[in-house]
Symmetry: C4
Subunit: 279 residues, 4 copies
């Protein structure tokens, strides 16, 4: 009985360290994890450089094994310390964690499986989760809110660009043709996107005067519509900032943003939202 | 008499399904149409890829015929079910629908007419019409309003870019000359637009020090004026959003945007606009 | 005496037609002038295309002469009809008008002077002057106001880009060196501007890993600071729009923008500005 | 005793001339310094152009020596005239000043040390310090304030771009591989940044259809997120401008920005901030 209790207590503490960020130990764990993730990503990147791989193959291989074993231990501890292991295992980060650990073991039996190590890079996304909890909460939240608010608008916009790209790409395919590098409609659409987004590689570029004239129009369209997503995000962000400011100045309802006139109010007079006491 | 009435009723129902979007049947028709349009566009795109066309020519050809026949039926039904067929036939979408159907039939008699199939891609524009009616009305409307409000300004701006491009293109033609790839003034103007819009293919690039110096200035100008259309759309969009928000908060007149103070008001106290009852 | 008076009257009318835009005749004159300017610019552009010049040399040459003679007559009439001819002759447009007329005459005596014909393109700038007076006054004015208000800020910004370009260009010259296409510091600075402004020709691009790493930083800097001029113009433009809107709503002082409360006010109660009567 | 006092007075005056900008002499000193810095930067740039260095080597070398000696004198005077020479010597500008002077002397003993002369370009940064004090204070301050306010946000954003670049770069390395120019993951990440920022050199570009499809998505992402930093700076800048405007209009508290209603107020009625008397 007591052993069980002690075990439970031990697991609760482990949970706090691994998943929590409020205790010094939890924070330390996150920072160490962060360092190892960044280190492992650098290893994967360096391994892909032929010159470095030739000279430091042994060191990189050992580093890989050390990181893999550390990640394996972390993975097992995460499963042990959580109440519903399934929920973790099939969550986004659970799958990523698994995929970051397994390739190195597979490479003992299967050749070519080391490419899967690249999945480890997805662990970098955990950085946001960790950092978010430490410092940038306020910052990111406003950003995320603005992006969320303009999500549908940006989707409509991207959709519009897709349609316009297919239309203009087809026109360019007919005008320039395979002789000038526009081999097929998908290839022309690729060129149109390259031009509309003002990237402009120059691997394909119009050769006929008519093609160049149409390209000019495509560019000016692209230049003109660059304004649209910018305008949307600017406006949404500014609007979010104003709301935040209002809340800083007098007290304001966190639900509807209307001003709280009386200091002793407990409910918003506009929307009936229960007000949090000021700290 | 009764047959006529039954026929009329049948046509009215057909009209509702084909042109309407409020009944489940009408919505289903639009979604199926959308799927077929997207499918036909993919077919056209894949047909233009030499490698795919060689291997799957038969399948693509059959798909073409199926889509063409479906489009033909749709076209005929559209003409039957509308009161003024002429209005539809000579409308933008009427012409597009006709041009998407006819090329395949022509290809039996005329060689080379399959290029016209590309017109089918214009049917993609119908996507906006369909989607607009289904979900994104609010979203698009605000976007369209902002773009409409800044239409003249963006026109002036594009005009300004055109004039500046001709001026700078001529200067570059004189400075660099045909030996460095600036073959003619139109070609130089093309280069100027490529540079001003920050696309930068690199198919032509200045070779002389003086040309590179002028190019530097052109780029900074382009970088500087990218701000202008963005600023315009941002401001217009933000202004539109504020008006929309005002209407969300208290009740506001839909005409002049001034606040409606009394809940029992039937006319705007500022502009006399008849107010809609709140839902 | 009477002849003098008649002549004066005739000159006054000529002045009205040439310089004015309020009478139908003045507007017609401006439109015809605009058409001829655009036509002459197209001629100059086409002349520079070798293929077109070979086939239509005669036609282009005659067109040139016709345009030159029309411009000459216009130039003389402008001098006659104005009170202070000197003011016009030495004004910006006076010099442009003179330089657009003279090269064709010079080409009879001097070989190579036809390049000066390119000055004619500067006449296109007159387009703005004419259009401004006809339709886009309101539109352009707000744009010009916004650009004017952010003039110094944009200057500081451009200056900042110049300094950063020289610094980064020098670093890249030391890192990459002449072997990788960075022939000299001015050349490297050119590359830096090409990269910072996101133009990216690709005529020079970093080859060493370190150079590519620095290039990456340069790009992200460029991407980050693209926000600055956009932000400035957006804010200025929005601020201008708000002022304009305020004036549309109640009556507002044109000087300080404060609202005019009493309809019978003749002076602004805030700044003492004499108010214009409402139309 | 008197000599000491005279010396002190002389040093105080020297300090005022060199470090101060309020006296005419101080301003003159700064302007002359600015001219010499710009001149020395031009010399360094021209020296790196092989053609110019060959023809004008002697002149450039003499100029170098003159500038070096002037800078040496300035450096010594700066040390003499300041109370705590150490603070200056180990400050950013102290080190820059030292590094701009020493290379020319070193070049007498060591070959190849002339590359260090490039450090002189860092002195250009002094331009901002000087100009800031002379004219653009107001302008820059608002700009700097806006950039400062959005610092963390832009950092989060840059961090986000870095993570996304590594992820997408790895995907492209696996898809395209070394055969199509994506030699290693760092190289692919470089390509991703080039594409995301819409620079698009074209030195590496996707060759496989799948790679081009992914590239298309990368470009649209890049195009979409260009909106984010712009939106942030726009909003911050506009917010700063509004505050500034409020202060211009009625009198406003410099702490909380609330309006001062009574002209004879000495403390802000909102936050109790001691108000500065109006000038």
């Amino acid at each position: 009985m007591k052993t069980q209790q002690a075990k439970n207590k031990w697991i609760a503490k482990l949970h706090e360290v691994i998943y929590g960020t409020h205790t010094p130990a939890g924070r330390l764990f996150d920072i160490i994890l962060l360092v190892i993730i960044v280190y492992s990503v650098i290893i994967v990147m360096l391994e892909s450089v032929p010159w470095i791989d030739q000279h430091y193959h042994k060191f990189l291989n050992y580093s890989e094994w050390v990181v893999t074993i550390l990640f394996s231990i972390e993975y097992i501890l995460r499963i042990i310390s959580i109440r519903q292991p399934r929920k973790y295992i099939f969550s986004f980060f659970g799958i990523v964690d698994f995929l970051s650990t397994i390739p190195k073991y597979l490479s003992l039996f299967l050749i070519g499986s080391q490419y899967l190590t690249a999945f480890r890079i997805l662990r970098l996304l955990r950085v946001f989760r960790i950092l978010k909890l430490v410092r940038f909460v306020g910052e990111s939240n406003n950003l995320i809110r603005a992006l969320n608010a303009s999500k549908t608008k940006i989707f409509v916009f991207v959709f519009f660009i897709a349609v316009i790209s297919i239309l203009l790409g087809t026109v360019m395919y007919i005008v320039e043709g395979p002789d000038n590098g526009f081999n097929s409609i998908p290839h022309s659409v690729y060129w149109t996107v390259v031009t509309l987004t003002t990237v402009g590689y120059g691997d394909i570029s119009p050769q006929t005067p008519l093609g160049q004239f149409i390209a000019t129009i495509v560019m000016i369209i692209g230049y003109g519509i660059i304004a649209v997503p910018t305008g949307i995000v600017s406006a949404e962000y500014a609007s979010g900032m104003n709301t935040a400011k209002k809340m800083d100045a007098g007290r304001a309802c966190t639900e509807c943003g209307s001003e709280i006139l009386r200091a002793d109010a407990h409910y918003c007079r506009q929307c009936g939202n229960k007000l949090r006491e000021e700290e």
